[in-house]
């Protein structure tokens, strides 16, 4: 197994799928000649040529809508958004068109489109560029959303997304692009809707997704070393479909839950997870569920304050100790 970066894992997934299926097309701003704003698509133009790897103008509503239309006729576009924040100018296409067409046609039309790109804060670029739209998009039936936290999951989830016959929105994280991990060379997928227990424990369940998983794993280590607590970390990986059983199984074992996400708290992903736990495992809980999310404000620019706005290891440890008290 090779050790590669999250960025390389995403690229490997696209390479594999470009080779496997000639209907796969990569499209987006700066993805071809410039090799990607974040170099995720580096080398793909050279290898697959301009028919398969296409630069677009700065017209998200136009090119994303075009991708959705092409997918209706069987093309499998993998569209890059330079930031998920820019999806907002294409919201109608992404939500109204991609999310509703199958339903409104009574199942006659499919939209096998993938839209991918970074959807994270923490990079000191201010409010307009720091949105984390997984919760708002996943709240629309018809849409699937995944948030890989590791190179292995990034490759496996993206490949699964490309083969999926529904719109799948893959939210990456620029801060994770250089993270390295073991990734098989051979073909594999991570099925959508399967969570992963990233750390086994007995005293507390932390449920997280995206970079919050990495933060939670670090916090779990500190909780173990400094406080002698055994923490289980459940990585959702997929927001919709949601692996309810893995979450419940963990809570039934530890009897305590802390939910960590980088979203703002109101109607965040964890609001749904908290509802799930109390509705199906209420009697199993020994303490109220706690959450750690971003401080509820548009993303602040000041780097020092943005680091405080996002969930950090200290805040997760502090909140975990409250659940354990």
């Amino acid at each position: 197994m090779a050790v590669i970066s999250y960025r390389e894992a995403l690229r490997a997934a696209m390479r594999d799928e470009l080779k496997r299926d000639d209907k796969v097309v990569i499209m987006g701003e700066e993805v071809a000649q410039f090799n990607g704003a974040y170099k995720v698509t580096e080398g793909l133009l050279k290898e697959f040529g301009p028919k398969r790897v296409v630069d677009t103008p700065i017209s998200e509503a136009g090119f994303i809508g075009l991708g959705i239309g092409a997918s209706m006729l069987g093309i499998r576009p993998v569209m890059e958004l330079m930031f998920w924040s820019f999806s907002y100018v294409a919201f109608d296409q992404i939500v109204n068109n991609a999310g509703n067409i199958r339903y409104m046609s009574g199942g006659l039309i499919n939209c096998p489109i993938v839209i991918r790109g970074p959807g994270n804060g923490g990079t000191n670029v201010g409010a307009t560029h720091s949105h984390t739209p997984e919760a708002i998009l996943a709240s629309h039936p018809g849409i699937k959303v995944v948030c890989p936290a590791t190179p292995y999951d990034a490759k496996g989830l993206l490949k699964a997304a490309i083969r999926d016959n529904d719109p799948v929105y893959v939210m990456e994280n620029t801060i994770l692009y250089n993270d390295k991990g073991e990734v098989p060379d051979e073909d594999y997928i991570v099925p959508l809707g399967v969570a992963d227990v990233k750390r086994v424990g007995t005293d507390l369940t932390i449920v997280a997704h995206g970079r919050a998983v990495i933060t939670s794993l670090k916090a779990a280590e500190i909780l173990e070393q400094e406080h002698g607590v055994s923490v289980e970390v459940v990585d959702l990986r997929s927001i919709r479909p949601l692996d309810e059983e893995t979450i419940l199984a963990s809570v039934r074992k530890t009897h305590r839950a802390l939910l960590v996400e980088e979203n703002k708290p109101f109607c965040g992903v964890d609001a749904q997870v908290a509802y799930l736990i109390q509705s199906r495992a209420f009697d199993e809980l020994d303490a109220p569920i706690h959450r750690v999310s971003s401080i509820d404000a548009p993303q602040i620019y000041c780097k020092r304050m943005e680091d405080q706005q996002l969930p950090d290891v200290n805040r997760v440890v502090r909140e975990a100790l409250k659940v354990l008290a």
Partner: protein, 368 residues
């Protein structure tokens, strides 16, 4: 209406010889010696501010994105120097030059870049999100093209209030392909709004040359014809030409309440942002050609030396003062405090910041 004088790169690389043919245009002839020196000073201040920013970014004190205006100074300077009390300005994320032109201080601008509470947006907006509404400057917008409808709305408000004014909407050559821009064009033309859309055509949107991004009938401004709008193209290396042609559009806005699209040819010397290594999509020679032959600050300096408005000594003094001002701003930014954690949840809602017996809503509005 002007013919599309398409300025291709080789053509525009020729050095301008002799005085600007727009020196005697009323918009420029009407300027006093002091006005001209003030205009030159402002251009030099933008140049030195931006160059100081590079160092601060390299020291790691500015993070995120930093889009520099170096090379494009004559666009903001030429247009904004014409504006009056009821004329408004809005632009994209390459917004420092416009900020300094409307009269923002270097201190507040620099402190914003390093995220300090003394910054123009109290460290909340950053490089892409400068604002100075007291100076009719409505930002600083990070989303490409997002400012076009807003600026059209500012012009609508000016007209609604019966004022003789306008709104200048600045955007890049890549922004013209955003749907919002076209919707704004249509509204401005349909409702006769006093908007001047200024396309700062620097030839590239990130690593994409203008030819690779845009279908157009000879030049970007000509798209205005599809909406029945007036348009013009301008050599943005000559601040006199910018002023002369912008004055016509401004008059159209003031006298007839009609929109105009201006395409101003310009060039950025540095990468798209400091994060762009700028190694793949354009030649070093091309950049050198612009720097040596078309530099808007140098060309204006030469113009003013020829006119004997400037002397070499005065010019040196102006540039040294601008550098010193930028140095001071850097120190101010260094010594200023950060916002606090409590500041993060301020300025979200007017109501939350002004809670009292007569505010209208109840209930939780900011969540734990």
């Amino acid at each position: 209406m002007a013919k599309p004088a398409v300025l291709t790169h080789p053509e525009s690389l020729k050095r301008l010889a002799g005085p600007s043919e727009y020196a005697k245009d009323p918009a420029n002839a009407s300027m006093s010696k002091a006005d001209k020196i003030a205009l030159y000073t402002k251009m030099a201040r933008i140049r030195h501010f931006e160059q100081r920013c590079i160092r601060i970014y390299q020291q790691g004190k500015i993070g995120g994105f930093l889009h520099l205006y170096v090379g494009q100074e004559a666009v903001a300077a030429g247009t904004i120097s014409l504006l009056g009390k009821h004329d408004h300005i809005i632009t994209g994320y390459r917004d420092h030059g416009h900020g300094l032109m409307v009269g923002m201080g270097m201190n507040e601008c620099m402190a914003e870049l390093t995220g300090r509470v003394t910054g123009c947006s109290q460290g909340k907006g950053g490089s892409m999100h400068y604002f100075a509404p007291d100076k009719n400057y409505w930002g600083g917008h990070g989303i490409v093209g997002g400012q076009a409808p807003l600026g059209t709305g500012l012009a609508y408000a000016v007209k609604y209030m019966g004022l003789k004014g306008s709104c200048f909407v600045f955007m890049g050559d890549g922004a013209v392909n955003q749907g919002a821009v076209h919707e704004a064009y249509n509204l401005a033309a349909l409702w006769d709004l006093p908007v001047v859309f200024v396309i700062e055509n620097n030839g590239y949107s990130m690593g994409t040359s203008q030819e690779r991004s845009t279908a157009h009938p000879g030049c970007l401004a000509k798209r205005a014809e599809g909406y029945g709008m007036a348009w013009d193209v301008i050599n943005g290396h000559d601040v006199y030409e910018v002023r002369a042609k912008t004055a016509v559009a401004l008059k159209r806005a003031h006298e007839e309440s009609k929109p105009t699209v201006l395409e101003i040819f310009t060039y950025r010397y540095f990468g798209h942002s400091m994060a762009d290594p700028d190694k793949t999509y354009r030649d070093k020679e091309e950049i050198k050609g612009y720097r040596e032959n078309k530099d808007p600050v140098l060309l204006f300096e030469q113009e003013l030396l020829r006119e004997k408005v400037l002397t070499p000594e005065l010019s040196q003094k102006i540039n040294e003062a601008a550098m010193a001002e930028a140095d001071k701003a850097a120190i101010f930014a260094d010594e200023s405090p950060d916002p606090t954690v409590a500041d993060i949840t301020k300025h979200i809602y007017w109501e939350e910041d002004n809670r009292g017996p007569d505010t209208t809503s109840r209930g939780t509005i900011i969540f734990e």
